[in-house]
Symmetry: C2
Subunit: 216 residues, 2 copies
Amino acid sequence: MSKRTAFVVAGGDVDAEDLALIDPERDWVVAADGGALTLLDAGIIPHLVVGDFDTVGEHFAAQLAARGIPIRKLPAAKAETDTHYAAREALRQNPDEVIILGALGGSRFDHTLANLGLLEWLDEQGVQGILYHRSNRIRLVSGPGEAVLAESKFSFVSLIPVTAAAEGITTVGMLYPLRGETLLRGMTRGISNEIVGREGKIIIEKGKCLLVESRD
Amino acid sequence: MSKRTAFVVAGGDVDAEDLALIDPERDWVVAADGGALTLLDAGIIPHLVVGDFDTVGEHFAAQLAARGIPIRKLPAAKAETDTHYAAREALRQNPDEVIILGALGGSRFDHTLANLGLLEWLDEQGVQGILYHRSNRIRLVSGPGEAVLAESKFSFVSLIPVTAAAEGITTVGMLYPLRGETLLRGMTRGISNEIVGREGKIIIEKGKCLLVESRD
């Protein structure tokens, strides 16, 4: 049985290749504010659009409503971002995974960091979050746990600790093997590993890491 | 007395406005790998270039040497990134602050995250690190401590916890005031505050936050 995927499309940069991940027949899609423009430009009708519409304007909100697309207007002054709110809505669909597009590459890096934080928040809700952007696929790996790295377009694999330390890290099928080792936040040791076999694996005993698969 | 500033120029995206921060007469400048090209294109001669030269090539390394620019060739397989190595070299100059350019905006987001981590590493070494990129200025604020927000081109101020919690956060001169409050990593509450007076201030009692000043 295939995974039930909910997509969150935020207002940052989205590539055609990112959008091609969406199967409009099968996946549930929520847009956060400017992300709605990206989707409609690509001919994808979101199931819901949330936002304060500060970016796209009231006029656009009215257009969405006229097309029968459900919108939820949020106040500009609120305790979380539009994208966070959209991720909450995605969770209500009980998906196996939430894929976030448009999370990186906008002009404001605070939004990028907030979106990365959502991977940890989703993990705490018991759901796998994945963030795609052009040359990068980012997940959170939480110990005790593991992540499988299938053959893909991404050459590099990097581990970036989110907690002060990420302990008991073992890699399988990687160029620079780790064997039950500790990575410390702020150090750059986990950067630029590479898969050597058909499939790699990362095992982590304790702590949390961002797992970034990337290419030049 | 003005601050002694050491610049690290990494291989990511660098704007002319970012480069204008460098005073070649006064500041010490180290380039990490491809960052050397950025500097030379702008007519700035770095004091040192470090890297495995995987990006810019051996030929370029030879050119630098011919121009009398000190280079330190690092192995490709090493326990830290070129930029981290460059930041170590910057610290040897005993600067008051280390400003990192070209830390964001490259194609590989693992490098971006590693560069952000260097702000915490620098803080642990007792030196203020600042990362500039186009519409963003990013610092780490560590408790107990505070950060002053002078009037600037940046409209938005966001706090993103690096530790699981950042406690006792108080803001002065901000649109959405915080009064001794706790921010949790993964939540997006600290995003998009704004300075309302001539100067703002962030006070933090315990934990660490990234402080991002940004504009649209």
